[in-house]
Amino acid sequence: MTGPSKEYDDIPGTFVFDADRSREGYHLNQFCISLRLGKNRDVFNADQESYLDKYPMTPAQRQAVLDRDWNELLQLGGNIYYTSKLAANDGITFQDLAAMMTGVSRDEYRDMMLHGGRSIDGNRYKSEWENE
């Protein structure tokens, strides 16, 4: 990502899907959203590589799709409302996807949510995460 720093860049563990990310992730996101429709999912699941040929994404984006590297997809301009369609294709719910992105088990994540979610305290600024 180039350009001037942004006021929201100091929020930890967060990608703000702004115009720069949208531009970078355009073909990746358009691929993901195509999986909203069952007829497209059938074609994709029959031959993923051929299906991906239709979308001129970068080699790194393509590899992240094939690897189902959910955080890398966001890093490369993907947006969660789009990448979640790829997850849904794989039978992964929003909550299980969140567990994978945060690096904890499904049960640990669910338990965290049942106990009030991730606290805002200690999670406002990147500086608060530096010791991790």
Partner: protein, 283 residues
């Protein structure tokens, strides 16, 4: 004349729709979520709106990355529930009050709010989940008990419209409805939120204290709520918490002084804090 009688703020978590569609609302996980809407459904039955003006966001369903209107008003005769990747929700087709929708479009555009007009559009869980929680389960062959005018707001690609812009748009929509000659009872819904983050390493963020203060402001000081900056939403309520700007359209359409008749708040529904409020105009 048409009149705005009340406003409803309501989360639109997709998993709430799934819970209703699969009949698991009495399970311990979901029971407290739905308990808070019992009173709302009774209130809605008494309220009997002719039209619901429903502010929501599309989740890359009607609008993918190729077209991102900031405000898109549904002017079609009807709106079918969309397939969002797991089949369309088994709920009725949404029927519009087309003449009022066209009147609002004309009125607010001349009032300097440059809306996009949608004459074909499918609607996703952002619209159908609030309908289900407020009106109860209705099947595919059934009809919703009210007409619905959808307003889709971009909150997916940053920046969403500012809270102040949403609040001012709400006021313009109110002026439009007030000037419509047919005798109609209109209830305005603002949906989305409350605090939640669906992505990356901070996913699962919840800020209950902030959410409750926002609900207080909805009732007591909407102007202050309209001045909350995007950075505060992003930092304090999670990257997807910014959906709450849509509640300000609803609040702008109400009188300055309102009566809070119901409030419900519960964590969690999936990744999200569920917030709900009913505000009535006093006049």
């Amino acid at each position: 004349m048409a009149r705005v009688t009340a406003g409803v703020g309501c989360s639109h978590v997709p998993a709430i729709g799934v819970a209703m569609d699969t009949g698991i609302t009495e399970q311990p996980y979901w029971q407290p979520v739905f308990e808070g809407f019992k009173k709302s459904r009774e209130w809605m039955k008494e309220q009997k709106p002719d039209v619901v003006f429903l502010v929501y966001n599309d989740h890359c369903t009607a609008f993918d990355a190729s077209c991102i209107p900031t405000f898109a008003l549904g002017c079609a005769a009807e709106f079918k529930p969309a397939d969002e990747g797991w089949g369309p929700r088994p709920v009725p087709v949404v029927k519009n009050h087309q003449k009022l929708a066209s009147h609002i479009a004309q009125s607010v555009i001349l009032d300097e709010f440059d809306l996009t007009i949608m004459n074909e559009m499918e609607v996703d869980h952002g619209l159908t989940v609030p309908m289900s929680v407020m009106f109860g389960q209705h099947g595919v062959d059934d009809e919703w008990p009210t007409l619905v005018i959808p307003l889709a707001v971009n909150v997916v690609q940053y920046p969403a419209p500012t809270g102040n812009r949403c609040y001012q748009l709400g006021k313009a929509i109110r002026r439009a409805i007030d000037s419509y000659p047919e005798d109609l009872n209109v209830v305005v819904f603002g949906t989305g939120g409350m605090s939640h983050q669906l992505q990356y390493k901070r996913a699962g963020l919840i800020n209950a204290d902030w959410d409750q203060r926002f609900l207080d402001l909805m009732t007591e000081d909407p102007k202050a709520a309209s001045q909350i900056q995007h950075l505060e939403y992003l930092r304090e309520t999670g990257s997807e918490g910014i959906e709450m700007v849509m509640w300000l359209v609803m609040r702008g359409a109400l009188d300055e002084d309102v009566t809070e008749v119901h409030r419900h708040y519960h964590v969690p529904a999936s990744n999200t804090a569920v917030g709900h409020i009913i505000l009535e105009n006093q006049t």
